[in-house]
């Protein structure tokens, strides 16, 4: 059963009671131990792999050396035959037979190391995937537990105090109302500030005789006289 399934089963089975955990602490510890074991296997497999790969390289070098040696001796045998020295040629041929034997042994060893290395690489890959998967699962269990405990903590804290979590609509209404009254106050004070600064400027301008002046009788009379003249 996958971990998600376990978590859901535990939830639906009623493990959501405050303080009750999804997976008891003991099984979490066992799980953590399993991860550590898998990590140990992984380290060992990687060490083995390095060793096998080194041996494979050695065997491969040996195969090359033997091949060169066979070719070399074949040359000697040919030369001996060309010189009519059948006895020497036979001796060289015996040596070649020995080298051939050695070569096929080394080739077999090389193949065996190579296939061993392939198997180990596959094992390392699989174990790495498994460890990553275990860790992911453990994280999920721990997070679920942590959230549950945090919820219990929050619930306890609210139950112990006079404050309580309001229902969603009321909370939003209150926040909006507070925001509205803040906005209103802000607007009012802005308007007031604006008016005040307008008035102050007007007063200064009037005192300086600039801008729109109040009409008075003298000014009207002057205007009429000017028109007549």
């Amino acid at each position: 059963m996958g971990i998600l399934n376990k978590i859901l089963t535990a939830f639906r089975g009623g493990a959501t009671e405050v303080g009750q955990s999804i997976v008891d602490a003991n099984s979490t510890r066992i799980f953590e131990q399993e991860i550590r074991d898998a990590e140990k296997h992984l380290t060992k497999a990687k060490r083995d792999l390095t060793e096998v790969m080194a041996k494979e390289m050695q065997a491969s070098r040996e195969v090359d050396r033997l091949k060169r040696s066979v070719a070399e001796h074949e040359g000697y045998a040919t030369q001996a035959l060309e010189k009519g020295n059948e006895a020497l040629a036979l001796e060289v041929a015996e040596k070649i037979a020995e080298l051939d034997q050695e070569l096929s042994e080394q080739q077999a060893a090389n193949e065996s190391f190579a296939s061993h290395a392939t198997r180990l690489k596959e094992l390392v890959r699989k174990t790495e995937r498994q460890v990553a998967d275990y860790q992911r699962q453990l994280t999920m269990v721990k997070t679920t537990e942590s959230v549950q405990k945090a919820t219990a903590t929050i619930t306890d804290s609210f139950a112990g105090s006079n404050s309580k979590l309001l229902n969603a609509k009321d909370s939003l209404e209150r926040i909006k109302a507070r925001q509205q009254s803040f906005d209103d106050r802000l607007k009012a004070s802005e308007t007031l500030a604006e008016e005040n600064s307008d008035k102050a400027l007007h007063d200064k301008l009037a005192a300086a005789g600039i801008g729109e002046q109040k009409s008075n009788a003298n000014a009207v009379l002057d205007r009429i006289k000017a028109r007549k003249g």
Partner: protein, 137 residues
Amino acid sequence: MNIHTIANHLNELGDSSQTGFQFDCYPIAGDVEVLQVNVVGREEIPVFVSVTDNQILCISYLWGEDEVNQERRAEMFETMLELNIPMPLSSFAKIDDKYVVYGALSVQSSMQEIEQELSVLSDNCLEVIDELADYLN
């Protein structure tokens, strides 16, 4: 990273926050330590922060199952799923019988990222309640 470093940072921010919000933090002791973060002016909907081995979880409670209009429950779920990706940084979830929005951050996050997460989560909360109020009793 623990809730106390977060609390100290947020409390010391005062007016100089990047997000324009002021935060009041109250650690709540328990099996798992939780930080209650009140966004000033929005005290009714606090954000709760807890820190696990590898993540910082910020959770706000939206409403309880008892507040949901049961006849429109499926419709509400569908709306939540549809909003889940457009809603920045936060996702919907359910803990026990409570619907929540939450955001998860890496424990390597900077204080500025945490601050942003909290303010976005708070904004999302108000928006979601406003938007989904029709599905509530």
